[in-house]
């Protein structure tokens, strides 16, 4: 074993980090190497005499703990004082994000809602419509067919009427009962004016 290796292992041995095998070879080297024995004595002496001069009285540690406690308390108080503004900011950010998502969903719903004028199918331009109208004018049969198609298209695009709204007031028997004789006479008079026919005398 070389002296440089022996001194490296000597350092490990002083720290209790040298396995038994190398330890035996180190001891064998030290037996026959005077310089390394001297080095071992020196570093062993340094190890033994190394002392950290702490020497603080108990009072110093009490003071240390009190000061630390005060700092910990102020750190905790600081945390409380600092957190809310960030929390408020975070809440506003979430609210703004939620409002944007809600607006997007509402817009999407309005565009996609069935029966709205926006979602109907429209003829694209006059180049298609004009020849059709000309053909309809030329032939009554074609005109009739176009008319049916247009009406069917309008029917398809028109939202289904509300069932309640479809019931005319006149269909309700209570409607007539609630009318006075004067109201009835006025209605009859209007009908005679519109149709030219008189009502029952």
């Amino acid at each position: 074993m070389r002296c440089a290796t022996a001194r490296k292992r000597l350092s490990d041995a002083l720290d209790g980090a040298l396995p038994p095998g190398p330890q035996g070879r180190l001891e064998a080297h030290l037996k026959r190497c005077c310089a390394c024995r001297s080095y071992r004595d020196d570093v062993g002496r340094i190890q033994a005499e190394t002392r950290l001069a702490d020497g603080r009285p108990r009072g110093a540690w009490d003071d240390f703990e009190k000061r630390l406690e005060a700092k910990l308390a102020s750190a905790a108080a600081g945390r409380v004082a600092v957190d809310p503004p960030f929390a408020v900011r975070r809440r506003w950010a979430w609210a703004a994000a939620a409002a944007m998502v809600l607006a997007g969903l509402t817009g999407w719903y309005l565009l996609q809602r069935p029966g709205t004028a926006m979602s109907g199918t429209w003829l694209a331009d006059d180049d298609v419509l004009d020849p059709l109208m000309e053909a309809a004018e030329a032939s009554p049969e074609t005109a009739s067919r176009v008319d049916r198609e247009v009406r069917a298209l309008i029917d398809d695009m028109t939202p289904a009427p509300d069932a309640e709204a479809a019931v005319l007031p006149a269909a309700d028997p209570l409607f007539w009962e609630s009318l006075s004789d004067e109201d009835l006479r006025a209605i009859v008079s209007e009908l005679e004016d519109e149709t030219g026919r008189g009502g029952p005398q």
Partner: protein, 191 residues
Amino acid sequence: MDDHPEARLVDEARTGGREAFAELVRLHERRVFGVALRMAGNPADADDLAQEVFLTAWRSIGSFRSGSSFYTWLYRITVNTSLTFLKRRNREKNRAPFDENLAVGGPATGLPPGPEGRSALNELASRIGEAVASLPAPFRATFALVVDQGLSHADAARALGCSENTVSWRMHKARKLLQARLKPWLEEVRS
């Protein structure tokens, strides 16, 4: 009786238990102060460093992984805080670089009276402190953990964030530097 009182204290401190943390401080304040003193070189700065170490530990104890060694974690904070502190003060730059051939005065010609052997030993002990203080910071940190605190190479490696081989090499180098620097006083003690 709880087999792992420190682990229980750490768990309580992690959930905000200030009293448990105070108990941990009482358990470890001397060790933390010892490493800080070795690194800073004077008790006033070591005291400030130790306060900073425990404040950092309190703020980040939530990130401490239970099952790890608390004191190793604390030593790591201590070493990192000390190294940052030394950089900030730029003390290392102003400190004279270690030179093992540099004569540091040698034994005083007029030693104080008293038993010769004891005086020489006392002188050696004080010179050891100066010599260790003049080691480069990473060597001093390793020396403080292994020699002053008695950590194994494995624990010191965890605290320093390096390999065991690095710890072993640093210790060997530090001893070699100290032996060269203290040679005059060592010879006097031997004689």
